[in-house]
Symmetry: C2
Subunit: 309 residues, 2 copies
C-alpha cells in the first residue's frame, strides 16, 4: 500500500472556450470535473498501474462530497480523507480551443482549524503503519502551519516509511529541513529554493539542504536525479506536443512505483519519464495512455552524469 | 405577489485576482458565491423593495442545492423552483483588481428533459393564479424549446397576468411573437432583434414585432421607453462609475415594482433608472444601496419624446 497526502485537495474544473478574451463574456462549450490536488492525481496514476493506494488529506463541504463521490469508484484506491468544516477548493482551468493554452484560477482552500490539523496528524500516523511509501504533495491550505511537511516527514521517518515531497515556496523550503528521502521539485521550484537557474548545480544544492535524493523535473528535458547511488539524466525519446497538466504528478507516481517495487534508480527514472510523457500525449488533461506508456518505457534515454559538484 | 421565471438559474461565483493574465496560473484572493440567473437577481431586488416574490425555474444537483440554501433565508422570497436531474450551472466572474474589469465564464446549464419541461409548465400555470405580474428572464437551458417564452407568455396572457420578457438571441426573437406586455432588451439585444443600431428606431421596431411596450436599457444613457401611453427617455442624473453587473436586472425589478403598484409610466421609469444606478454604484456587484436609490429617485431626468416613427 502506498499513501499519498493532499492537504489542499481540489475539485478540478476544466472549461473549454472558443477563445479567451480578457474582460469579455464567454459561453463555456464543455465542462469537465474531476477530483484533484497533486496527491490525488498521483494516487489515480498509481491505481491505474495496479498499486493499492490510500488517499488522505482534507475534504469538506459540497465540493468535498463531489470529490469523494468520484474517488470511490476508482479500483485500488482507498479514501482516507479527513473531514474539514470549510468547503474543499475548486480550481478552474480555462482552455482556449484556438491556441490550446490554459489559464488557471486556483481558489485558496478552506481554513483548517488547529483541531482539524491535529485530527489529521493522528490519522496520518495510523495510516503510516500499513504503507511502504508516502508522498506529500502540493500546497498547504490556510491554517496549516508552514512547517507542516517537515513534521510529517519526521513522523514518516520515525515509522521507517520512505517519504517523497513535492511542493513549492515556503512549504518546500521548510519541508526539505525534515530530510525527505526524495524531493521532486520542478525547474521553477528548484530555482526558488536554491537561487540557481542552472539545473545541475541547483539539484545538487537542493540535496545538500537535507534531501536523500533530488529528482528535478525539467519539462521537455525530462528528469535530473541526484541520488546516493549516482547522478542521472533521463530524457523522453522525442519532443512531445500535448498538454503538460499532470505530467509532474505522473512522474511522482513513477518514482513511487519504482521505489516500492525495488527498482534501481535508472529504471525508476525511466518509469517516471515514460509516465510523464504518456500524460503529456494523452487526449484528456492529466490522464495517461497505457499503450503510449509501455511503448515509451524502453525508449527513455538514461545518461549517467559526473557526480562531482 | 410577483413571479419571476429563471429557466437557467446559476450559482454565480466571483473570483478576485490581482491581475488576469491569459495562459498564466492565478491564486484567487477572494471567492464569493451567490444565487444567480436574471430572474433570481430581479426577485432579490423586488424582495429588498418590500414585495412578495416567488422564484421559479429549474434547480438541480449540488449546485442547485447550494443555490436554494441561499435563497431560503431571503425575507419575502418564496422558492418554487422545479427539480431537474442535471446540476444547475455555475457562472464564474473573474475580477481583475488592477483594472476592475470582469471576465465572465458561463456554463451552458443542465439539459432539461421533455418530462421536466412539462412539469415546469404545470407548476408555472398553477403559480400564475396567485400573482399580479410575471417576468421571464434570461437564457434557455439546453433541451428547452427555443419557442418556450412565446408559450409561457400566452399562458400568462390567458391568465390575465401582465408579463415582462428579458432575454436575448433566438429566445427573444421567438418570444416577442408571444406578445409580452413589456419587452426589456439592452442595446445589443435590440440591435440583434431589429438589425438597427439607432436606439429610437430599433425600440419602435421591436414594439411593432408584438410587444405592448418596449423599454430599452442603454447603459449609462438610461432607459428608452416606447409604450401605448407615450415615449420617454429616462436618464440618471450624472455619469456613473461602478460595476454594471445586475444593473439591467435592477431595472426590470423597478419596472415590475412600478407596474404592480399602478404607477404611471414616467414614475415606473424613474424607479427603474434609480434602482439600476444604485446597483452600479453599490460596492458589491449586483447589490443596490437603498440610500443611493432613494436619493437618486427624485433626480432621474424624464423627457417625453415625439411618438412618430
Amino acid at each position: 500500500m502506498i499513501l499519498t497526502v493532499t492537504l489542499n485537495t481540489a475539485l478540478d474544473i476544466t472549461y473549454r472556450v472558443p477563445a479567451l478574451r480578457p474582460h469579455a463574456s464567454h459561453r463555456v462549450t464543455e465542462v469537465i470535473e474531476r477530483p484533484g490536488g497533486k496527491g490525488v492525481n498521483v494516487a489515480r496514476v498509481l491505481a491505474a498501474l495496479g498499486h493499492e493506494v490510500t488517499v488522505t488529506g482534507f475534504a469538506g463541504g459540497l465540493t468535498g462530497r463531489l470529490l469523494r463521490d468520484r474517488l470511490t469508484p476508482v479500483p485500488g484506491l482507498v479514501d482516507a480523507l479527513v473531514p474539514v468544516s470549510g468547503p474543499t477548493r475548486r480550481t478552474v482551468a480555462v482552455v482556449d480551443e484556438r491556441s490550446g493554452a490554459t489559464t488557471q484560477l486556483n481558489e485558496p482552500g478552506p481554513t483548517v482549524s488547529a483541531a482539524e490539523w491535529n485530527a489529521f496528524q493522528e490519522v496520518y500516523e495510523d495510516l503510516l503503519a500499513g504503507v511502504s511509501a508516502v508522498a506529500l504533495c502540493g500546497s498547504l491550505p490556510p491554517g496549516v502551519p508552514v512547517g507542516a511537511y517537515a513534521g510529517l516527514i519526521r513522523t514518516a521517518r520515525a515509522a521507517k516509511v520512505p517519504v517523497l515531497l513535492d511542493t513549492s515556496g515556503a512549504a518546500l523550503r521548510r519541508g526539505v529541513a525534515g530530510r525527505p528521502d526524495i524531493l521532486k521539485p520542478n525547474a521553477d521550484e528548484l530555482a526558488e529554493l536554491t537561487g540557481s537557474h542552472e539545473p545541475s548545480r541547483a539539484t545538487r544544492d537542493a540535496r545538500r539542504r537535507g534531501a536523500g535524493a533530488v529528482v528535478a523535473s525539467l519539462g521537455p528535458q525530462g528528469l535530473l536525479a541526484v541520488t546516493p547511488e549516482g547522478h542521472w539524466h533521463a530524457a523522453p525519446p522525442a519532443a512531445l506536443h500535448g498538454n503538460p497538466t499532470g505530467a509532474g504528478d505522473s512522474a511522482v507516481a513513477g518514482l513511487l512505483s519504482g521505489l516500492v517495487t525495488g527498482l534501481p534508480w535508472p529504471d525508476r527514472l525511466a518509469r517516471a519519464v515514460a509516465l510523464s510523457a504518456a500524460t503529456v500525449l494523452a487526449p484528456s488533461a492529466g490522464e495517461f495512455d497505457r499503450g503510449t506508456y509501455e511503448e515509451l518505457l524502453g525508449r527513455v534515454a538514461i545518461t549517467e552524469e559526473a557526480g562531482a559538484a
